[in-house]
Amino acid sequence: MPSVTHTASVATAALAGAVEAQKERLLPCVHCGFCLPACPTYTRLGNEADSPRGRLHLMKAVVEGRLDAGSEAFRTHIDRCLGCRACEPVCPSGVEYGTLLELARHTATSKVPPGWLTRGLLAVMASPFLRGALFLGGRVLRVTGLAALGAKLVPALGPLRNARLGLAMLAATSPWRPPGRTSGSAAAQPMVPAGSRPTVAVLVGCVQEGLYSRVNDATIRTLVANGFEVVPVAGQDCCGALHAHGGDLERARSLARRNLDVFTAAGVELVVVNTAGCGAAMKDYDALLEDDEAYAERAKDFAARVRDATEILAEVGPRPGAPIQTSVAYDHPCHLLHAQRIEQAPLDVLAAVPELDVRVIANASECCGGAGIYGLTHPDLGGRIGGDKVRSVRAAGADAACTPNPGCMMQIGAGLRLEGAREGVVHPVELLDESYRRAGFYNGADG
């Protein structure tokens, strides 16, 4: 049938394009090995095939035609990468590892499709209806306490251990309220005139909208309190990060184009993202759409307008709110620290909360093992990496873990919960929002 032939040839062309795009990007790697100690999988497994340099070498072998992209070796080691991109900031040659990984996964999954769990989750995330239903179910389990109960009752080993982790992650999305009450003492702080700063839109996201809509609300309130005009943008969709990381570049591109269209039509100056993973993906829309003639230029312009929520707040120096007397153990999300190279901004945001005791945990620059759906697809290694992170969080002895990315919040939160730890999990913007609420900023006209 002609249509089948056509589809096949399009797929072949896309694959050839992906291989060609890798070829160029692989050239700068001189095999120096400076990336090895930064890689969480290499430092734990010791096998160079599980290191960034090793994976790049496997990609090279595929590009050179020495290795089949569908081979078990290629698929396994490319799949086992967390995608944390900790290798990028240490690379003297500036190898674009994140983009290469997506292209390699695309090449591998074009030959052999990924497992049902990955395929299922990616399909659900790309459909507003399906993910709406999934997250509704999730919220029901959360509100009724069934998620927390299930996480307690399901045995740690055996066929249901993935379900146990999933339920614990769900339970971990419950809000955490810091101790203390409204003081109103900071109400004397100078007001920032409404709309005195750029007009922005906020990405509502998929997981974020489904399970952390309170973080979206907090983002909008704190932006407004700092003088930004926030425009609601209808028709926006999932950012496509999960799809790109999974090698489903076609779906990622189609989501990117949709977002690009609606955000551009809204005429906002900046697009604010409160999830590190989505922000990193949207800042990379230019690479994702580089071969799309109609979108390549627009994508470049768009990518330059994307800001992390903590980045934009820190840029203007967020106005301080009321004190909150509590302590938080801060962990850097990889896609903020390594992919977006943002280290200080979230700490600046937290510094705007008087009396808040912020403790950056040991090894805060290492991945928590959440890595999108890695915790579910690689429970052993992801669990081991997550276990180390939970130990670091607990060693900080704070009241809550704090990190600006839903995947990390769920991974760390689930790890804490399964250990029976008392610490909650909170997004930095949630704390700023609570600080503003206690200061009475939202009682007036601008709330």
Binding site: H31, L45, H77, P92
Partner: protein, 476 residues
């Protein structure tokens, strides 16, 4: 294509280290085909990743009994092909042996496994105000086991000396699989033949160190870092000569040329080197505070006399760190300029530096090759980096000829064929340039004592008895 390892042997290896730590699938072995020197590629029969001395000993004993060659490997960052696999051999990697076993701060000694990353030792020693002195530029990733094998240096070995000075004890698995303990716990080499000294720098030909004891030094009180800017490499070379003949003892004197500066400044390791400079010198003094400023003033005067357009001082710790990061990551940053890179390593008498640099430039021009220089000027240890694209066969040929010519030039002015990267497989053909048959035969005799069957890191360091010396016309 070699015959794969017999199933019986694979099973035995699996039984020793666990099947997760034995790699025999050729598609996976591809990642081990090179170390940091990618111009050589050989796929081994297997890679084994043991975790303890006992496991290493059992693996080595098994392979020895089967007559299978063994190639030790640390992080695989070496630049002379020292960890290049043998096609009929097995690579024994130390990546999983990455624990620091003890820091004895009172005695300023650390005991560790060979897979510990050099820089991680200094991080671990910091709470005791101690550090590990040898600082190869790859210290953020290279391992102590590899440092022992290569007797690694680094920028600060100008004042502090190389690895050998710091290794006080070793546990070694001999090629037969026997375990021996050399020196250690204050016994040092006194009262016995210095086998620790013999082992350090043996490039994996005598066995595998599975436990290493090293000396730590107290962190120095003060440090002064100068950045001298020059129009030409030659002028910078004159400044180096002047600083040394002044009788100054800097901790480090490093030189970077314009091509290197541009590569580094475009990278995440941008150190603040001016991109228009023809050459820059990084000069560092450390020690007790008293006298440091006077030393720095004298070095500055030497630079100005040699024609420096500017001499800056890093006043903040962050500035100093940035300069050093820029310098140490220069090799990796070269990937920005060209797809392939041949890092040479040779030493020349420091007084001949300006002349040698001028002649290297001339050689590069004659062969129409881009040569970037970044090296330890203070001890005359050159690293000309020849940049090329291996897909151009004509260029590849010119690279080889230019490289030989540079090597012959260094020997001709009284230098030698390696400063710190080792001989490995890359410099083996140059050995006869600096050593006579008698000396080489003496080395072969020592090698036979440790490794009578010649199964450990075969084809490295020592030239085969039959191999002809490098053609003489190369030095013409």
């Amino acid at each position: 294509m070699n015959t794969p390892l017999e199933t019986r042997i694979v099973r035995a290896l699996n039984a020793i280290v666990g099947p997760d730590h034995v790699v025999t699938d050729p598609e996976r072995l591809v990642v081990y085909e090179s170390d940091g020197l990618t111009s050589y590629r050989v796929i081994p029969l297997a890679v084994v990743l043991p975790a303890t001395t006992e496991e290493v000993a059992a693996v080595v004993k098994l392979l020895h009994g089967e007559g299978i060659p063994v190639v030790p490997r640390g992080a695989g960052t070496g630049l002379s092909g020292g960890a290049l696999p043998s096609a009929d051999g097995v690579v024994v990697g130390t990546a999983r042996m990455n624990r620091i076993l003890e820091i004895d701060s009172d005695n300023r000694i650390a005991r560790l496994q060979p897979g510990v990353v050099n820089a991680h030792l200094t991080v671990a020693a910091k709470p005791y105000s101690l550090y590990y002195a040898p600082d190869p530029s790859s210290q953020s990733t290279c391992t102590l086991g590899g440092n022992v094998a290569e007797n690694s240096g680094g920028p600060h070995c100008l004042k502090y000396g190389v690895t050998q000075r710091y290794v006080t004890g070793l546990t070694v698995v001999l090629p037969s699989g026997e375990v021996i303990r050399l020196g250690g716990a204050g016994r040092s080499a006194r009262g016995a033949l210095d086998l620790v000294g013999l082992f350090v720098g043996s490039e994996g030909c005598f066995g595998i160190a599975t436990e290493i004891e090293v000396k730590l030094l107290p962190v120095t009180e003060g440090v002064r870092t100068l950045l001298g800017i020059f129009e030409t490499m030659e002028a910078a070379g004159h400044a180096v000569t002047a600083i040394i003949s002044e009788g100054l003892l800097p901790a480090a004197v490093e030189i970077v040329d314009n091509a290197t500066i541009r590569a580094v400044e475009a990278s995440v390791y941008a150190g603040g080197f001016p991109v228009d400079a023809g050459a820059a010198l990084v000069i560092e003094f450390d020690g007790t505070e008293a006298g440091l400023d006077a030393d720095a003033d004298r070095a500055e005067a030497c630079c100005r006399q040699a024609g420096a357009s500017e001499v800056k001082r890093a006043t903040e710790a962050t500035q100093r760190a940035a300069l050093w990061n820029g310098r140490k990551k220069a090799f990796g940053a070269m990937g920005r300029i060209a797809p392939d890179l041949l890092v040479q390593d040779a030493t020349v008498p420091r007084t001949r530096l300006p002349e040698v640099l001028a002649r290297i430039t001339e050689i590069g021009e004659r062969y129409e090759l881009k040569v970037a220089n970044v090296f330890h000027a203070g001890d005359g240890n050159l690293h000309p980096n020849i940049l090329f694209d291996r897909n151009d066969p004509d260029e590849l040929d010119r690279v080889e000829r230019a490289s030989k010519e540079i090597m012959c030039l260094c020997v001709e002015v009284g230098g030698t064929i390696t400063g710190e990267h080792g001989v490995g497989v890359d410099k083996r053909g140059y050995m006869q340039l600096v050593l006579g048959e008698v000396e080489i035969e003496a080395m072969r005799a020592v090698k036979r004592i440790f490794d009578p069957s010649g199964l450990f890191n075969p084809g490295k360091v020592l030239p085969d008895p039959a191999s002809p010396p490098v053609p003489a016309e190369a030095s013409a």
